[in-house]
Symmetry: C2
Subunit: 229 residues, 2 copies
């Protein structure tokens, strides 16, 4: 990271994290020794806030308690859309029914989903991710959710706009073959897959997505990028 910053290249962190504010997320990474600030992070919640403001949408939130501060400046009275994130313990029967009732009560239901992940692993086991609950509401209301976050094209475009860089001059580094690599490529960027994190060897046989290159870790990605300057 320090070598990229020293080279003068523009840098942006793109995360699908929706269980915490950017502040909390950044603190965690700083604690691990990374040179990162809130202003360098592109995350689903602020991207959703931009959409809400642009379209004068007032959300009913079904999100994690720790994410609520990201929506502090958004008018939430008399909701005309539902925003769903990885609400975790907030995915109760009562809360799901409530979000459903808000949606089904609209003439044209608007559902915005902060990601479409299927599941993830925590120390106490696998958990259903936001995508599963998004599908439940989609089916019940016969509506298609608008997904904010990787791999949505709009999400990468936001990150590019924030840097002021065209997609042809940007490169994505990520461990998720579909959300990171596939999403960035569909946006016109090049993408490196690191063989760390959630990488699995079978990713290299993915039926649709082929990274521009594989690297064993982030340091190797930086080597390649700096060599080509």
């Amino acid at each position: 990271l320090n070598r990229i910053k020293a080279s003068g290249l523009k840098l942006r962190f793109c995360t699908n994290e929706t269980q915490a504010t950017r502040e909390k997320f950044v603190k965690k990474l700083q604690g691990m020794g990374f040179d990162i600030s809130v202003a360098e992070v592109t995350a689903p919640a602020p991207a959703a806030c931009r959409i809400l403001k642009e379209r004068s949408l007032r959300p009913h939130l079904l999100v994690h308690n720790d994410l609520v501060p990201e929506f502090a400046e958004i008018d939430k009275t008399n909701p005309n859309c539902v925003v769903i994130g990885d609400a975790a313990e907030n995915f109760t029967y009562a809360n799901l029914n409530e979000a459903f009732r808000v949606l089904i009560g609209m003439e044209k239901p608007v559902l915005i989903s902060l990601g479409r992940g299927r599941y993830y692993k925590e120390t106490d086991g696998l958990k259903l991710d936001v995508g599963a609950y998004m599908k439940a509401l989609e089916y019940a209301c016969d509506v298609q959710a608008e997904v904010v976050g990787k791999p949505a094209k709009m999400f990468f475009e936001s990150a590019l706009a924030e840097m002021g860089v065209p997609p042809q001059q940007a490169i994505m580094i990520g461990d998720d073959i579909v959300n990171d690599v596939g999403g960035a490529q569909r946006c016109g960027m090049r993408a490196l897959q690191v063989r760390t994190g959630k990488y699995r060897p079978c990713d290299e046989n993915h039926p649709h997505v082929k990274p521009d290159a594989y690297v064993n870790n982030l340091a190797e990605a930086v080597d390649i990028i700096l060599q080509q300057l």
Copy 2:
């Protein structure tokens, strides 16, 4: 009902009720004055039990507490499938994650759903039905649920087999254009739609399903049927 029984016609009650045992369901209808017994009822849970036995499946149950007795004789140790019904208050975050973990842990996940309803109305408002939670698990596990209950063809075939009647000689009377009328017709039966219960005038413009006739109520359906004997 009494006129149909007196005529000697065979009769079967087909319900998608999965919040109670057939015993409880029948008691409720008896309390309303209907001449009905448990042996005359075709319901999703016993249909699922037949499938479980035939295929040596041991279910993990995600169902309403009041439905559990229907599975009393089924081996539930070391589950190799998940059966989901309208679990209502049992649709907790913890229970959904548990059912998901059982499914995703299988080499080839088997998900049996007692219906595919989207939502229903109770005195305290609209509630998400089993179909929504089925979709959540389907998406998370990349699996297609096997649906037991109306409008599944197999469900109507069970009812016909229990009466010993071929579909051409049977007629369905129901208020649900898709689940009752459409399901029965796809099975080769004729079907009457009653203009009571969940019937809505827009049902008469349904894009795919056309009943063999409309009747204003159950008594009128019986009139028509007895006239044609």
